[in-house]
């Protein structure tokens, strides 16, 4: 096993699958010679040539529209969207086409593609380089939505996403692209979609978190432990399909639930977790289900550090579940 950063694991996954399956192609803005603005595709054009790793014109609509056509025809596109904030020109192709191709054609045509995009705050990117819009995609039947929080998961989940027969939104927490390092198995390494991970076991309260929020919650859990609170952390890893059972089991055990995420609160994935718990585990609850998220404002620049959930806010959220 090699020690890698999260972004290196992303590159490794693409390289592995491109070697494995010559139907796999990678494209997007600046992914070729430059290797992507975050360098996630570095080395791929060199190894696989301009036919399999190439730059596109500046059109997300074109990137995803052509990716859908490729997938329908039978190759396996991995489309990079430079920042998730810039995906909206392609929104129609994603929600009206990729997500619905299998359903609307009665299964005659399918759309196995991966849309990779860095998302989230914490890099001083301000308004338009920081957003977390996973909820839009979770609300769209036909899409799978995957978010890794460790290098090993990044590789294993991305490989599963590339092999999946349906369109996958693979969202990469850019804040921890390089700050998180870990052991990553070489070559073939698969983490199935739809299986969550218990990040830390605990008995008093369940914290559900994903992406860059996982390590924040781990820090908070350490602090909470000092105060005598035993925190269980669950990283769902794929938001759709969701490992509901893992979450519900944990909440039934702890009786308390906090969800931590970066996005605005209203109709967020945090709301979804709260709704699931309120519908299916309410009789086990010993306190309110608390959402610790971004605020219902656009993403700021100067006050980013206040916008994003931090240890302080996670701890406060945890405390709230003890005050009935």
């Amino acid at each position: 096993m090699a020690t890698m950063t999260l972004i290196e694991a992303v590159t490794d996954a693409m390289r592995t699958e491109m070697r494995n399956d010559d139907r796999v192609v990678v494209f997007g803005e600046d992914v070729g010679k430059k290797g992507g603005v975050f360098l996630a595709t570095q080395g791929l054009q060199e190894e696989f040539g301009e036919q399999r790793c190439f730059d596109t014109p500046l059109s997300e609509c074109g990137i995803i529209g052509t990716a859908v056509g490729m997938a329908v025809y039978g190759i396996r596109p991995i489309a990079e969207i430079q920042f998730l904030d810039f995906i909206y020109p392609a929104f129609d192709q994603i929600v009206s086409e990729a997500a619905k191709m299998r359903y609307r054609s009665g299964g005659e045509y399918t759309c196995p593609l991966v849309i990779r995009s860095p998302y989230g705050g914490g890099i001083r990117g301000g308004h338009y380089h920081s957003q977390s819009s996973e909820a839009y995609f979770c609300h769209t039947p036909g899409l799978k939505v995957v978010i890794p929080s460790t290098p090993a998961d990044a590789k294993g989940l991305l490989i599963s996403s590339i092999r999946d027969e349906d369109p996958v939104m693979f969202l990469e927490p850019k804040r921890i692209y390089r700050s998180v390092k870990g052991e990553v198995p070489e070559g073939e390494h698969v983490v199935p979609l739809g299986k969550g991970r218990v990040v830390r076991e605990g008995s008093d309260v369940t914290v559900v978190a994903y992406g860059s929020m996982v390590s924040i919650c781990e820090q908070a859990a350490e602090k909470a432990a000092e105060q005598g609170r035993s925190v269980e952390i669950i990283d769902p890893r794929s938001l759709v399909p969701l490992d509901e059972d893992l979450i519900l089991e944990s909440v039934r055990k702890t009786g308390r639930c906090v969800v931590v995420f970066e996005a605005p609160r209203t109709c967020s994935f945090g709301s979804e977790i709260a709704a699931i718990v309120a519908e299916k585990a309410i009789e086990h609850l010993e306190g309110p289900v608390v959402r610790v998220g971004g605020f219902d404002t656009p993403f700021p620049y100067s006050l980013e550090h206040l916008y994003m959930p931090d240890v302080r806010r996670v701890l406060k959220g945890i405390e709230k579940t003890f005050q009935w």
């Binding site: 609509c61 529209g65 052509t66 596109p77 192709q93 009206s96 191709m101 027969e165 399909p241």
Partner: protein, 370 residues
């Protein structure tokens, strides 16, 4: 590039051809074109009638545009692909899709290839390489570009044909699709069927460009205008474009200048917004009649032949309708299939929820207004 010149014509009103322009296609090919156009028109008549009788929910005709799509589609090989819009009923007929498959889609019954998921005329025919039609205007354009890119990457010599209307030229995907196709030399023929109207908006208010074909210059590809009511002219222009694509010389934009004789759809009444004179003038240029006169001169058409094919298609379509009406809706649990390859736990639970309901289903719902 003949982008702003008058569109290329071959067939004259009287069935003669412009000097030296007769392509002299083989007789069986000419008859195949003719019969497909006739069949498409009969299909459209029956479709609208069923809607008017309340037997299907919606219909949308290609009346007057038969030459445009049959002429172009007939230049492809069976292994080539279509990324169609909703106004090319002749294509499945040309490709030999059984009328049952077509009509079952109107009824959204359990024989529908797309399992009753979409409104009438939003076909999907995998066997015919006829990609699932979607309602959002233009989305198929960039998809065709992508499929073309994929074929190039794989080294296949497949050619792709994508259809859209004058209104479709304003879509995001027109811009992105033509640009990507040109940059990546995708083997695609983009057929813009300019029928002069996008519901109630005339093409002259859709864009101020001199033509639709001239828009090709924005992407550095050839753009060609052709008389869309002239099946031989359409065929010739598209044949050349298909050859170019197959040779790896990249995409072409073809503008077929035609007219939407029908209202936009069964929900629309064009008389509310359209000039009767314009409409009457275009009716004189009927593509089937024009082609018929040509065939007659060639001794390939007579009244007995016409009666025979009319009868043949009417019978076949009516039989298909009869069978379609007898079929039930898709089964209840098909509602949850094909969202993904496999049911997720959530969908499985939701299916159980629905299956466990007791009491009568709610009555049929409202009417479609567009």
């Amino acid at each position: 590039m003949t982008t702003t010149q008058p569109p290329l014509s071959i067939l004259q009103k009287d069935g003669k051809t412009a000097k030296d322009k007769d392509p002299n296609l083989p007789a069986d090919q000419l008859k195949r074109l003719y019969e497909t156009m006739v069949a498409a028109r009969i299909l459209d008549e029956r479709g609208l009638a069923l809607q008017r009788q309340g037997r299907i929910g919606f219909y949308l005709q290609a009346l007057g545009q038969e030459a445009s799509h049959v002429g172009s589609a007939s230049t492809l090989q069976d292994s080539d692909w279509f990324f169609p819009a909703y106004r090319q009923p002749g294509i499945p007929i040309l490709r030999g899709v059984p009328f049952d498959d077509i009509v079952n889609e109107w009824y959204g019954n359990d024989g529908d290839t797309s399992k009753g998921r979409q409104m009438p005329v939003h076909y999907s025919f995998r066997q015919a390489n006829f990609v699932s039609v979607s309602s959002p205007i233009g989305t198929q354009i960039s998809q065709a570009a992508g499929a073309g890119m994929a074929a190039r990457i794989r080294g296949d010599d497949t050619v792709f044909m994508s259809y859209f209307g004058d209104g479709g030229t304003s879509s995001n995907d027109f811009h992105a699709g033509l640009n990507f196709a040109a940059v990546f030399k995708a083997p695609v023929v983009f057929v813009c069927e300019n029928n002069q109207w996008a519901i109630s908006v005339p093409a002259t208010n859709q864009t101020k460009s001199e033509s639709m074909a001239i828009k090709a210059q924005a992407y550095g590809m050839p753009g060609i205008r052709v008389d869309g009511n002239d099946v031989l002219a359409v065929h010739r222009v598209c044949k050349e474009a298909v050859e170019r694509a197959r040779k790896g010389e990249g995409p072409t934009l073809v503008e077929t200048v035609t007219y939407r004789i029908a209202s936009h759809s069964s929900s629309d009444d064009a008389a509310r917004y359209r000039d009767a004179d314009e409409f009457e003038a275009w009716k004189q240029r009927d593509p089937i009649q024009r082609f018929q006169r040509y065939l007659q001169r060639k001794k390939l058409w007579n009244e007995a032949y016409e009666a025979e094919i009319q009868e043949r298609y009417k019978q076949a379509i009516n039989d298909a309708i009869k069978r379609a009406e007898a079929r039930p809706r898709p089964p209840l649990d098909s509602l949850f299939e094909d969202v993904y390859l496999n049911l997720t736990p959530q969908l499985r639970a939701q299916r159980e929820e629905l299956l466990s309901l007791e009491g009568p289903e709610s009555a049929e719902l409202g009417e479609f207004p567009l």
